[in-house]
């Protein structure tokens, strides 16, 4: 199977759909076949947002359980929730900064200790890279740039057949001038964080 299946998961407002869309555009620019899928609707209202990018000899737009080659999680509890998409050969990249859902604040749920669960998950997959992506986004000067941090980290893992220059090119084309510098910085910080963990 010469196909790469990437699943992105996050919380509404984290820019997950933009990340998958940019990856799809970059793959296309790199001469690859790419299919992107996403679930819209409640994204702005704080729910879970999942998207997928499939690159190569594949036309199905979605990824079945245990069939993701890469899982990119923008929020640790959501990474754990979506781990059903992973298998032994999956590379998981996750941000560790928690974003507790409102159910926790009103006492209808408990935000778990995620560190231990991530360690256990990491032992079962090819590679698990965990770092505080939100801190890097803030370091880049734009708290909204977590999606760029995670794209940078994904690029560093060499798991997708899309060269960095193509990803950076679509970021440049798709970003407003005033956010460009911070977005590229966020991408580089994510890249470095993941490269250091490889």
């Amino acid at each position: 199977m010469s196909a790469t299946r990437v699943v992105f998961v996050g919380v509404g407002g984290q820019g997950n759909l933009l990340a998958s869309n940019l990856l799809g555009q970059a793959a296309l620019a790199a001469g690859q076949n790419a299919v992107v899928s996403e679930i819209h609707g409640m994204a702005q209202r704080g729910g879970v947002v999942e998207s997928a990018v499939l690159i190569g000899d594949v036309t199905s737009p979605i990824v079945s359980p245990a069939e993701a080659d890469v899982l990119v999680g923008f929020e640790p509890a959501e990474t754990l929730r979506t781990a059903i998409k992973a298998n032994r050969n999956t590379t998981i990249i996750t941000s560790t900064s928690p974003l507790p859902p409102f159910t926790v604040a009103i006492g209808a749920g408990v935000y778990p200790e995620v560190d231990e669960a991530l360690v256990s998950l990491g032992k079962q997959v090819r590679k698990l890279i965990a770092f505080d992506g939100q801190a890097l986004a803030e370091e880049a000067g734009n708290p909204q740039s977590l999606n760029m941090v995670m794209l940078g980290a994904l690029a560093a893992t060499n798991t997708v057949p899309v060269p960095v220059k193509h990803i950076k090119k679509v970021i440049k084309e798709g970003t407003k001038a005033k956010l460009l510098e911070s977005n590229l910085k966020a991408f580089d910080l994510g890249y470095k964080a993941a490269a250091a963990a490889m």
């Binding site: 299919v35 899928s37 926790v104 009103i106």
Partner: protein, 619 residues
């Protein structure tokens, strides 16, 4: 220039399925489009709305509901203008009345009705299979397999519509609408809004004497469509081998990938159906004769499976045909690539091990993350006030929109919902059947125009007894902030005419009509107390612009945010338990307000019994 108008013929760009459909329509020279927005179809009309002022000879409207949208489209197509009407699957129920007779009447220029089904109910109240509508109405149906296929298929849909003089149903599912892939751009078509209508009442006016004849026309045109279907390149046999698969829509991709993954390329023959009604009967029979066993791969109902079995029976073919009984296929929910691979392997007895799942027993229980009403949302303030007055002592029929989220804790203020507009009409039933219980119904402004008005007329006429709260946030928020008749058109850069909800309601003869800002908790509370005590129908219009739209229209220069005076807070936590704005969070045992989320709506300061929530002093 809008990117959908990209003039670079031959360029390949990544397009959302809905954008590809809009582009296909423009390449086909569509000049007139109508819709009522509904996920997963909403981005098609969004493109039309965005480009309508950029191009000549193009008319687009957000219609009041799907019936109106289809009838408006039908008029334009009867007058010779190429037209598109878009709606979601349940929207076609609303438009089913015109659809069934429009099938007799037909069109003079192409009319394509894009119908988006939603298997797995990602954002719908049911997952009905609208392939039945093609069979019910006798209209041709086309089903694309991907965004790129959709763009080309739309263009052919117009040719089919004009050859047969019938509207064409173009059925997608969520995974077509909301998938993206590289789409090769074609030339934009020539548009024209100069129609021509030839009067002929014995043709266009469906009284019994006319309709009896026109039904014959429909059958004749249906036969013409069957011929086109048999000849269509969208109904295609590929591959070699004695194992047969018949499939359509997004499942075509799952089948293709599964056949590759299972190494069955030279063993399986696939019949892909894109022109799915009328079925290409001759092509199917030819296919059945060339295989030993057939698996039908289709989501939702066994529609193709049943038809193919009937066709085999009619031709005396004994080839085994199966579909829904092969595990893990189901009539429920959408399929995925793994399911299809597994079913193909099982049915054709191929050795296959599905990928091994991880052991996730050490993952702790995770808190649910349902979508939530936004900080500053007027619906939350209204729900808080109503719940404060009536608690569990009333029945709350609700409706379709963001405010359906009132279902969730802490409000739990949604007791009954079936479809758009059902809040108003079902309240008549509840109030008659439960004479001692107050009934308070909720409906959004857009939904009120869509299908709440007739229910309200009924309630007035039949002396029902309930309070209707119209949650007027100045837009159709849920589907992405579309306009509707009650909005201020200037907010949308539009030149449509505003229809005033209060005047409309008063025009029905209702005397108890109150317009209130839901951020005024005391006022809402008092009105709910008053209206639920008075007999008859009363209406409260809770008017506060959607917080997301307000922020977009006029981003505040200096934002007022609130904070909790921890020295005054006595931990009642009413703010969390009863009001539950997402800007609150627990820092250890203390409730705090996230200043990045707070939009300064002031309502929580009215909720706190200690008056501990105050505007934050300017830094």
């Amino acid at each position: 220039m809008h990117r959908i108008l990209n003039p670079k013929t031959g360029a390949t760009v990544l397009l959302l399925g809905n954008e590809a459909i809009a582009r296909g329509a423009l390449e086909a020279g569509v000049s007139f489009a109508t819709c009522y927005p509904g996920t997963p179809s909403s981005e098609i009309p969004l493109v039309f709305f965005q480009i309508k002022r950029e191009i000549d000879d193009f008319y687009f409207e957000y219609s009041t509901n799907e019936k109106v949208a289809l009838e408006t489209a039908a008029g334009a197509a009867a007058a010779g203008v190429r037209t598109m009407c878009t709606l979601k699957h349940v929207g076609l129920n609303v438009a089913a009345d015109p659809l069934m007779t429009l099938a007799y009447v037909g069109v003079k220029a192409g009319l394509v009705i894009v119908n988006a089904d939603d298997p797995s109910l990602f954002s719908s109240q049911n997952e009905q299979d609208n392939r039945f509508y093609a069979r019910l109405s006798g209209l041709p149906m086309l089903e694309p397999t991907s965004p790129a296929d959709a763009k080309e298929l739309v263009k052919d849909a117009y040719l089919i519509s004009e050859q047969t003089e019938l509207p064409v149903l173009f059925r997608t599912t969520t995974r077509i609408n909301h998938a993206r892939e590289g789409v090769k751009l074609g030339r934009l078509g020539k548009r024209s809004l100069k129609g021509k209508f030839t009067k002929n009442p014995m043709y266009w006016v469906q009284v019994p004497a006319v309709a009896r004849e026109r039904h014959k026309d429909l059958l004749r045109r249906g036969e013409m469509a069957r011929k086109l279907s048999n000849e269509s390149p969208h109904n295609q046999i590929s591959g070699r081998g004695r194992l047969g698969i018949i499939t359509s829509g997004v499942s075509v991709n799952y089948v293709r990938d599964a056949v590759n993954d299972l190494g069955l390329k030279n063993k399986v023959k696939i019949l892909k159906l894109g022109f799915t009604w009328p079925l290409p009967d001759q092509k199917i029979v030819r296919f059945l004769k060339g295989v030993d066993k057939v698996l039908v791969v289709e989501e939702l109902e066994p529609v193709l499976e049943t038809d193919v079995r009937a066709l085999a029976q009619a031709k005396g073919l004994m080839v085994p045909i199966d579909g829904k009984s092969v595990k893990p296929f189901s009539r429920l929910y959408e399929y995925d690539p793994g399911m299809v691979r597994e079913a193909i392997a099982r049915y054709f007895q191929i050795d296959y091990q599905p990928p091994k799942k991880l052991n996730l027993t050490k993952v702790p229980p995770l808190p649910a993350r349902p979508p939530n009403l936004c900080p500053g949302c007027g619906h939350r303030s209204t729900y808080y006030a109503v719940k404060k007055v009536l608690g569990e002592g009333a029945v709350y029929p609700t409706d379709i929109g963001c405010y359906t989220l009132g279902l969730l804790p802490p409000f739990k203020i949604a007791d009954y919902l079936i479809c758009m507009g059902s809040s108003v009409s079902s309240s008549g039933g509840f109030s008659r059947a439960l004479p001692d219980t107050p009934v308070v119904a909720f409906i959004g402004d857009s939904t009120f125009f869509h299908s709440g008005i007739t229910g309200l007329v009924n309630a007035v006429h039949n002396n029902h007894n309930f309070t209707l709260i119209i949650l007027d946030n100045g837009t159709t928020a849920m589907t992405g902030h579309q306009p509707h008749p009650g909005v201020n058109p200037e907010h949308f850069g539009d030149t449509t005419t505003h229809v005033d909800i209060e005047k409309l309601v008063r025009g029905l003869g209702i005397e108890q009509v109150y317009t209130v800002n839901p951020r005024n908790v005391n006022k809402v509370t008092q009105l709910v107390e008053q209206t639920t005590k008075e007999p008859g129908v009363s209406v409260i219009i809770a008017r506060e612009m959607c917080a997301l739209l307000a922020a977009r229209l006029a981003p505040p220069k200096k934002k007022l945010v609130f904070e909790i005076d921890q020295s005054k807070c006595k931990q009642h936590r009413d703010c969390l338990r009863l009001f539950a704005c997402p800007a609150f969070y627990l820092d250890g045992e203390r409730v705090k307000i996230n200043p990045n989320l707070c939009i300064g709506c002031t309502v929580c300061s009215q909720v706190c019994p200690e008056r501990a929530i105050k505007p934050k002093a300017a830094a």
